[in-house]
Assembly symmetry: none
Homo-oligomer: 244 residues x 4
Amino acid sequence: MVRQERAVRTRQSLIRAAAEVFAEEGFGPASLTAVSRRAGVSNGALHFHFASKQALAQAIEDQAAETFRRIIGAGEGPGGPQAAPGGALQRLVDVTHQLIASLAQDVVVRVGFSLRGDVRWPGRSLRLEWQRWVEQALRCAEREGRLAAGVSAGGAARTIAATTVGLEVLGGADPSWLTDGQVAGFWELLLPGLADEGARRSVSPRPTGGAGVPGGAGGGGGGSGGVPGGGPSQTIVFPANETD
Amino acid sequence: MVRQERAVRTRQSLIRAAAEVFAEEGFGPASLTAVSRRAGVSNGALHFHFASKQALAQAIEDQAAETFRRIIGAGEGPGGPQAAPGGALQRLVDVTHQLIASLAQDVVVRVGFSLRGDVRWPGRSLRLEWQRWVEQALRCAEREGRLAAGVSAGGAARTIAATTVGLEVLGGADPSWLTDGQVAGFWELLLPGLADEGARRSVSPRPTGGAGVPGGAGGGGGGSGGVPGGGPSQTIVFPANETD
Amino acid sequence: MVRQERAVRTRQSLIRAAAEVFAEEGFGPASLTAVSRRAGVSNGALHFHFASKQALAQAIEDQAAETFRRIIGAGEGPGGPQAAPGGALQRLVDVTHQLIASLAQDVVVRVGFSLRGDVRWPGRSLRLEWQRWVEQALRCAEREGRLAAGVSAGGAARTIAATTVGLEVLGGADPSWLTDGQVAGFWELLLPGLADEGARRSVSPRPTGGAGVPGGAGGGGGGSGGVPGGGPSQTIVFPANETD
Amino acid sequence: MVRQERAVRTRQSLIRAAAEVFAEEGFGPASLTAVSRRAGVSNGALHFHFASKQALAQAIEDQAAETFRRIIGAGEGPGGPQAAPGGALQRLVDVTHQLIASLAQDVVVRVGFSLRGDVRWPGRSLRLEWQRWVEQALRCAEREGRLAAGVSAGGAARTIAATTVGLEVLGGADPSWLTDGQVAGFWELLLPGLADEGARRSVSPRPTGGAGVPGGAGGGGGGSGGVPGGGPSQTIVFPANETD
DNA sequence: ACGGTCGGGACTGCCCGTTCCT
DNA sequence: AGGAACGGGCAGTCCCGACCGT
């Protein structure tokens, strides 16, 4: 099968258009007509690339998952954020910033995260994947001895996951919920209860090293295209994530 | 206007049925047929009580707002939670527990909170109202000198609001997010960064004083299975939440 | 449930319109839009009365079955055409004429007979029912000793059934296949091989006694209403068909 | 034009696949996708060979017509079956057997015969051609003085045509209608009323002379390809019909 | 020449929210 | 309050035409 170049472009624009429409109207109410019109292709073209509305949603989620995994997986071997410079907690903070920034920049990621909540869906959601990663990071910090006394990794992970979900949901209507400042404010409030005295001082609630979504272009159109606002500057190279 | 008793019962069962259907399928995809069938009334009857789908949603939200205001407004004069026994922070913690419990118990409240996010809607949302109330409570605590140094009431209110929204959203699919334990865990994590040293010791992350949703015959209009019936009497004064 | 009078009229006109459209375009290609337009009702009204296209077809067949059973069942007790005046063979000839006349007059009957052939369908077809009745009649004649030597009731029934099916199919495009003359010609050709010498003389290939479809009005609009064209002449007055 | 060998094979498999799909689902409902999938070629390939769905149907009918004409026209000059050995009636019986056998063996023939009935179509149908041939044969027999008294060639031809159409239609769902036995039974029943006393004895209701479909491979792939049953042996040349 | 990928409209069956008339 | 009817709109599918690789 020889994928023409135009085809992959059409596919991408359909995914993006679908994410935008889903974000504006919700998955259920959104009409495929609106999607194809926004993408500038015909109804038939849409169904050539995606057999059903569900398939379209699946594609969105897959692309979001790719971006998500690039964020959490940057620079670490299998097993999680064990050996991050600056410690696991700092890495958690940084990744949170990157994730939220990615949600702010890319409709596809945002919609990909929330789809499972809107529709009855089989399989595991990205939100759950994120929660598990947070828990891993916290367990890592626990092993490093940087967690405050009495803090359970699982419980804290749930709180953190809930907050990010809240930011994501609220950010859908008002992007100000998806800013670095908002995230930093959250960590400032949370770190004292989460980290032990030493970590409280060494861990910064603001992103260190490189913020922004690593990779980018490679994935699937990633953050580009959609919400360009403020994006470019964050593409500061991540010092120690020799991915690529 | 003296509403026939049967009429008000029908109305209530329609509201509840609608909330359930909306919760399961989302506002857009939900069909009024499903609502009327679940309520056990006819299509025509539904439209007799509610002129449109939007009106049905409005009624849900109104009822949720009533419950919500009973929770936050219990026992305090106009102006907010300034003079709560045990301090504003403790009251904030308690109200949070009550709110989440109410979300857990009552579909109508849960749907009432999330409707504005699903649909394009005029007017202000309950979520925003909640955020404002949290901010008020924090400002109150600030005046009481119980806030940690460097904490801004507005910023902290946003974080807290985000977390509750997250719990609400996640709780829609998995009720375990709407438990007292979950809320307590959240406050345990947050209080160290929010309260000054004294308050950190005096404020309990668990609900104190009167638990449960105040007001309402049998649970706040809400919780229980059916129709709460005579609403008017709910202005019951918040009985006793005098700290330990 | 009190069926309004208008409702039953709408239902009838939908069934008739559907039969006409199905007859002209075939079941598969026919569009429900064409049906509702021809019936003079809206698309929604159609789906109020018939949940699906299949349901519409079912209704057509049910109505055809009713007419069919009125034809074969007229004036005989359960068990078939055993005690027909003039003998079983004459009754077979007469019923054939009535059936073909009914096919000529009423689109609903015609379509009802052919539907099972067009679509994949569960259940038994009217054609098969007709074949069985013919076989019964022949067995009856056999018991009366009027069958020619060497004629098997089952085999002859198949041939007769095939011919009527052929007339029905060809009559769909050209009504001249569904005339009394055509049927009489068929019986003239067939009787010498079918009946014994005596019956050959006593049985008339033309309808005796009562022609025309008995009943009619009662059932479902039966033969009336629809395609009057050419019909009038066949409405030979039925001398004695005090059906029920 | 030298057609590549693969091309003609593809074309044949498309025709056969189309006939099968049309037979199963009907012309209207059948999708070209199903046709191309069954033929094992791509959508584009189908449209390369056949510009439209109608063209595909046309090709089917043409091929069926070729087979049909080989059956009726085997070895006789223009004017019909005038001088068949055994008489025109015997030839009619034989040809009927061959035609029905051909319908039983080859989907293409079967579909080719029924297509005109399913769709609005320009041109004359094979069924009509068959009816005309039957009439010719009967007129021939009339001239030979073998028809029973009072039998009109035209009328009898219509009855015979109706029966064969009935067999063809019923045979689409149940092949037992297209057997030699069925046809023989039909002729046994019909001959006494059709032929005069002498012919009644000399004409056999079962096939005489060369059975099967003549021709075969030569023509247009006719019955070959799909249903191999007994094909090759049928190439018995029609012995002698030039006489007179 | 032959075939395949991609895309374009048009349309279908179904269903929905709503209104009219009892 | 209820049965009936209305229009509009949805997802999905179809038949087909371009434009490409062989």
